[in-house]
């Protein structure tokens, strides 16, 4: 039982650090509160969907910014979508980069856009790793017979 308690503490601390470092915001709490016994995998499902969408959007963005003549409206549309879905799951730092990204699109600033693309890729992969670690911890707790700490 000790190891379960330890794991649970680890999880609580880990989640707290993600909030503290700005990776996640209040919206992630909202998601956790939507999860219940009838749908215990809700958060994992939504976040997985977010990962899928994000990979697709990042590809589209890279392609759009490689064009000889860049269609900034198209780029902006993709960033807008990315901003929307990242804010819906509480991926705070990703969302922030998207906001700056949109400003560069409006200014039609290629350099700025390319910089933001790198930044958003970076932030996305960071939050993705963090969330995957979080879900791993949750799995371990459940496998050890424990329950997830209340949100």
């Amino acid at each position: 039982m000790d190891s379960v308690v330890q794991l649970q503490k680890q999880l609580v601390d880990y989640i707290a650090s993600l909030f503290h470092e700005g990776f996640l915001d209040e919206q992630f709490n909202q998601l956790q509160q939507l999860q219940d016994e009838s749908n215990p995998d809700f958060v994992v499902e939504v976040v997985s969907l977010f990962f899928e969408d994000s990979e697709r959007l990042l590809n589209e963005l890279a392609k759009a910014l490689e064009q000889k003549t860049i269609d900034f409206r198209k780029v902006d549309a993709h960033v807008h979508q990315f901003k929307g879905s990242s804010s819906s799951i509480g991926a705070h730092r990703v969302q922030k980069v998207c906001i700056a990204f949109r400003n560069y699109c409006e200014e039609q600033n290629v350099e700025g856009c390319l910089k933001c693309l790198q930044q958003v890729k970076h932030e996305y992969s960071l939050v993705r790793n963090k969330l995957e670690t979080l879900f791993q911890l949750e799995k371990q707790i459940i496998a050890a017979g424990g329950s997830l700490p209340a949100t």
């Binding site: 909202q30 939507l34 219940d36 929307g84 879905s85 804010s87 819906s88």
Partner: protein
């Protein structure tokens, strides 16, 4: 604290639920079981979240991807108490869809749900198209509950 207790507290606050479930026959689903909703949003993450918020409140709901699908649903005779309308969508956006639905005589509560837009003019246009309410994304259960208060008053 389970999400169900939270939900019931909110329901109690807005007078949809007179007492917490477990006492008598009152239950979250009984209070809202007759309310139907339509989620109109092109983003699959948002579709999933909005649908779950509604589902947790016991509200039957359907999901479509753009304004045209919403209009088509109504053309074929469907009706909903509440429509959650995203603004930016391909094929037909929220502003146009809201206008069309109102022109068709749809009197459901239409709540615009959109990301914080720098363009205040666009938000005004959205309201003017026939919205009853506007909430900023991301949608949360408390925000939906405040929209539901309008549905309740109407019913």
């Amino acid at each position: 604290m389970s999400s169900n207790i939270n939900t019931e507290n909110w329901m109690k606050d807005i007078g949809v639920l007179d007492h917490l479930s477990g006492v008598g026959e009152g239950s979250t689903s009984a209070a809202t079981k007759n309310i139907t909703a339509l989620v109109v949003d092109d983003d699959s993450v948002n579709q999933m979240i909005h649908s779950k918020i509604l589902e947790n409140l016991g509200i039957q709901n359907q999901v479509v991807r753009n304004g045209k699908e919403a209009v088509d649903l109504h053309s074929s005779g469907n009706n909903f108490d509440l429509i959650l309308m995203d603004m930016d969508m391909p094929v037909m956006n929220g502003i146009e869809a809201t206008r069309k639905l109102r022109a068709m005589g749809v009197r459901s509560i239409i709540a615009g749900v959109s990301t914080c837009t720098r363009d205040e003019l666009e938000q005004k246009e959205f309201m003017a198209a026939g919205l009853d309410d506007f909430q900023e994304k991301p949608l949360t259960t408390p925000k939906l509950v405040s929209i539901l208060q309008k549905v309740n008053k109407k019913c």
